[in-house]
């Protein structure tokens, strides 16, 4: 397998074939919580992409240069990664506030939510700890591979959350049976979307 093709496989696999929201059920809270308007969904998707990429980079470095050489990765990775993410989010919030107020206004309200967004921790864990990922491309990601994987996941997340928001905006005005109003119909929508994404199974042999 040539080098660029492997990156392509990792990217497509992370984005659609193993879509983080609809195929793997990670990050459902923002899907049902935030995605009632297209505009807020786009803001959320951008902030998640930003935080995720930084969190994976730092976690990868921490795992490969600190935790593994010291042989403590097995039992310290959970607290270490979550601390990295929490610190990073706090740090980003301060930097954005200082450096780019417009960007802060756009992303600011989502940043605290992202600490407890399981997607960030899941991706950081999967990018460094071998064995969790089903992708049969590579188990030990190198740093560029981990980054390609993370960006793929983030775009996949953004894609679903925006599509879902579009559907929910339409649902507001549709006649829905009484018992299904609100959350249940959102779950039905998610079921149909997930069914559609299952069509990507085995794409490119992933």
């Amino acid at each position: 397998m040539s080098e660029p093709y492997r990156y392509f496989l990792i990217f497509i696999g992370a984005m659609v074939v193993y879509n983080i929201v609809l195929i793997r059920f990670i990050a459902l809270c923002p899907l049902f919580g935030v995605s009632s308007q297209v505009e807020t969904s786009i803001g959320m998707a951008m902030s998640v992409m930003f935080v995720m990429t930084m969190a994976t980079t730092v976690s990868w470095l921490a795992w490969n240069y600190v935790l593994e050489p010291l042989h403590v990765g097995e039992f310290l990775y959970i607290p270490v990664f979550i601390l990295i993410i929490a610190t990073l989010v706090q740090f980003l919030e301060m930097v954005l506030k200082k450096v780019s107020p417009p960007l802060y206004r756009a992303m600011g309200i989502f940043l605290p939510l992202i600490t407890t967004n399981c997607a960030v921790l899941a991706v950081a864990t999967e990018a460094v700890k071998p064995g969790f990922l089903n992708l049969n491309v590579a188990y030990h990601f190198s740093l560029p591979e981990a980054l390609v994987y993370t960006i793929g996941v983030a775009i996949g997340f953004g894609l679903v959350i925006v599509v879902f928001a579009c559907i929910r905006e339409r649902l507001e005005t549709s006649p829905v049976p009484h018992a299904f109003r609100g959350a249940p119909i959102a779950f039905m929508t998610a079921a149909l979307l997930s069914l559609a994404f299952m069509g990507f199974t085995n794409l490119l042999g992933l």
Binding site: I78, I82, A179, P184, A191
Partner: protein, 205 residues
């Protein structure tokens, strides 16, 4: 608590009126992902309940010493420690289930259900109440997982396998596989919520 609620009320509240999954809609991710088999539901329920009760007790014990500004990182570290305990114990004793639950065990750390109880309840109440609250929420979570696991495994595979023994079998029929797959989780959960809505609006009338 001074307003006269008994421990039993607290327990019931967690299981029914404030059910984490069906009512508050927190902790959904793990519940939908692991409920494709009854067995997964049992282990995930036990793991989450253990973390909930332990972190609630510890946080209630030290609640007066936690500085307000950095309470969230402290809660997360406490929760992460208990999750590490679960992670290592399950890896050692039930490797098959551990493999199947995969990333969901470390993800208990960011399960909003647990952090919400730490922040909203354990940090304000005495140890006994916090423990019972954790137990109630945990049992409520586990019950929903069990119902979903039962329905999905039975409809999706036609039988229920528990600890390598088939306990229920629907006999020869071609099961709709979709129930054990991803859309089945959303479908089952949505229908459960709709049924609950309907039941409650009937009761009100």
């Amino acid at each position: 608590m001074d307003d006269g609620t008994t421990l039993w009320d607290e327990f019931k509240k967690g299981v029914i009126t404030e059910n984490a999954l069906l009512k508050l809609m927190v902790g959904l991710c793990s519940a939908l992902a692991v409920s494709n088999r009854l067995e997964n539901g049992i282990f995930m329920g036990i793991a989450a309940t253990f973390v909930l009760v332990c972190s609630n007790i510890l946080i209630a014990l030290i609640r007066e010493r936690i500085p307000y500004q950095i309470r969230i990182p402290i809660f997360i570290i406490i929760i992460a420690s208990f999750v590490t305990v679960v992670d290592l114990v399950m890896k050692a004793y039930v490797p098959v289930v551990y493999e199947r639950l995969g990333v969901w065990i470390p993800l208990i750390v960011v399960n909003c259900m647990i952090l919400a109880r730490a922040e909203g309840y354990a940090s304000k109440n005495s140890v006994a109440y916090a423990a019972v609250d954790g137990l109630g929420i945990g049992v409520g979570y586990t019950l929903v997982l069990l119902v979903m696991g039962f329905v999905r495994e039975l409809l999706g595979t036609g039988k229920i396998i528990l600890f390598e023994k088939t306990i229920v079998s629907l006999g020869p029929f071609n099961p709709p596989l979709i129930f054990v797959m991803f859309p089945g989780a959303f479908l089952t959960f949505g229908i459960m919520m709709a049924l609950l809505n309907r039941y409650e609006s009937r009761k009100k009338q």
